[in-house]
Amino acid sequence: MADTASQMAPTTARDMTGPHGPKPRRALSGRNIMIYGTLIVVSIYYLLPLYVMIVTSLKGMPEIRMGNIFAPPMEITFEPWVKAWSEACTGLNCDGLSRGFWNSVRITVPSVIVSIAIASVNGYALANWKFKGADIFFTILIFGAFIPYQVMLYPIVILLREMGLYGSLTGLVIVHSIFGMPILTLLFRNYFTSLPEELFKAARVDGAGFWGIYFQIMLPMSLPIFVVAMILQVTGIWNDFLFGVVYTKPDLYPMTVQLNNIVNSVQGVKEYNVNMAATILTGLVPLIIYFVSGRLFVRGIAAGAVKG
């Protein structure tokens, strides 16, 4: 590469009175054009679907039939959005995606709280109050994360039915807490293990117990990891489809399930603009979380990806 060679230009005869430091790179070198060119082309590939979604959702149906999907709308209309939110039909119900939205809220909020509460206390017990056999359970728990959900779908149906919770909101919250447990426990255990042990010992000497140390020392110190866990769980649970379909009844279907039913219904004329508006609406919550949280989101998925 020519560029690397120029960087290594002989420095022996450096004139100390002249300009110092490495040779400045030209902004428009062939190397830069290649790098930025590739990145921009790739970015277009990633952005195109989002752009087409937005553009399509703002067009009227006649314009969609006539025109091309990449063209910006000639007449912007928000009617598809209104229709997707409050009038789109799934089967006999025609109250739009709003019902799915509120169902998803009702599912996501308690599931996130319960799963994080359980996993944080559990991770704390595993990190600081290890009991005999704890490691065995923890190892199986982590391996459980790799078992395909399909293997456990039906046994859970039976368990929930025995408890009288099959098809209820509580049942789905339990399911989300169960399947969120491996990754969240790992996250919290690793975080609590990384905190200085002296802190824990000092609190023990002062007579604090299990819950005292958790609420007064660990909790206030670990806000970042709670935020990471929340991002992970909110996006994960909001985007869930399988558990929503299996463990709830149609009037409790989360937004993803309802969206799929609206768009892929075989009855009636396909209204692509309404479909795209509904699709954006469903993707909006995780997208907002993603763009607001930025680095923390990356940290969350990286933490989720790296095993203990």
Binding site: L153, I156, M276
Partner: protein, 296 residues
């Protein structure tokens, strides 16, 4: 308490209480549930689970069903392509972003945002983009290339590649982020040394950096592989398994037989096969990753 010596079970009691959800989950769902499903895959359960054991009959029928064979083939094609391509794309993008470029955060955000979206949203967007009457095919035809044909969602032979495009769009950003983290973890002195020796950059990547990033690659591969087996939502949203049965996958087979076909035994047998496939991937990995450490 009055007995003086505390009973062993009550030692560290709060900690054990805190771990009850984990213990119950492990015992009743992960271990118990898996064992239950595997056991009942040997029965002739139809609408309800029953304990009439029929040996390997369900498995024989499973491997005689064309839909299952198509599902397995699709998963193999999708899995192989998705592993190779997402590693390739992810690594190249990470290497490009690692060149001390401007707007790195912007580019990274753009490449990663699809990962925040659900498979349902992904599938529906790409269904629209690949729609033959309105989407990419029509645009390119309109540009004058009238013979251009790219209609994966209505062509049984290539439908799985249509799904692959959507899957890569959604998931390659994650691979890129993991690879970038791996690249950042590499000592900068290695770059200086290779530059002093006059080794071209692509050779440094191929023979020095990539071998050093082995752990990152393995983690990423395991992650991608376990995601591939779960492939379900994307198919449901984008193709619904069609045209015909051309884009069916095992996870969908299981769901359809368990909850719609009222043929539980088939569902159990199919899900046990899925478990087997995962074990074939996981056990060697776990042995390599953890087995060595314990002995060392």
């Amino acid at each position: 308490m009055a007995t003086g010596k505390p009973i062993r079970l009550f030692r560290n009691l709060s900690s054990k209480i805190a771990a009850i959800p984990m213990i119950l989950t492990v015992l009743f769902v992960f271990v118990g549930g898996t064992a239950w499903t595997v056991t009942y895959s040997f029965t002739s359960s139809k609408l309800l689970p029953k304990t009439k054991f029929v040996g390997l009959r369900q498995y024989e029928r499973l491997w005689e069903t064309e839909r299952w064979l198509v599902s397995i083939e699709n998963l193999m094609i999708y899995g192989l392509c998705s592993m190779v391509l997402s590693l390739l794309i992810g690594f190249i993008l990470a290497a490009l972003l690692d060149q001390k470029i401007r707007f790195e955060n912007t580019f990274r955000s753009i490449m990663l945002y699809p990962f925040a979206l659900s498979f349902i949203v992904t599938g529906l967007v790409w269904q629209w983009l690949l729609n033959p009457d309105f989407g990419i095919q029509k645009i390119i035809n309109g540009l004058g290339f009238t013979s251009f044909e790219f209609n994966p969602l209505y062509n049984s032979d290539i439908v799985i590649y249509g799904v692959l495009i959507a899957g890569l769009w959604q998931g390659s950003g994650l691979v890129m982020v993991l690879m970038l983290a791996g690249l950042r973890g590499i000592d900068q002195d290695i770059w200086k040394a290779s530059r002093v020796d006059g080794i071209p950059a692509w050779k440094t990547y191929l023979f020095i950096i990539i071998p050093m990033m082995r752990p990152v690659f393995i983690t990423t591969l395991v992650l991608i592989a376990s995601g591939i087996v779960k492939l379900y939502d994307l198919i449901v949203a984008q193709t619904g398994g069609g045209p015909g049965i051309a884009s069916e996958v095992p996870a969908k087979y299981v769901y359809d037989y368990m909850f719609q076909g009222q043929n539980l035994g088939q569902g159990f047998a199919a899900s046990t096969m899925m478990l087997l496939a995962v074990l074939i991937v996981i056990i060697p990995w776990a042995y390599l990753e953890f087995g060595g450490k314990k002995r060392g």
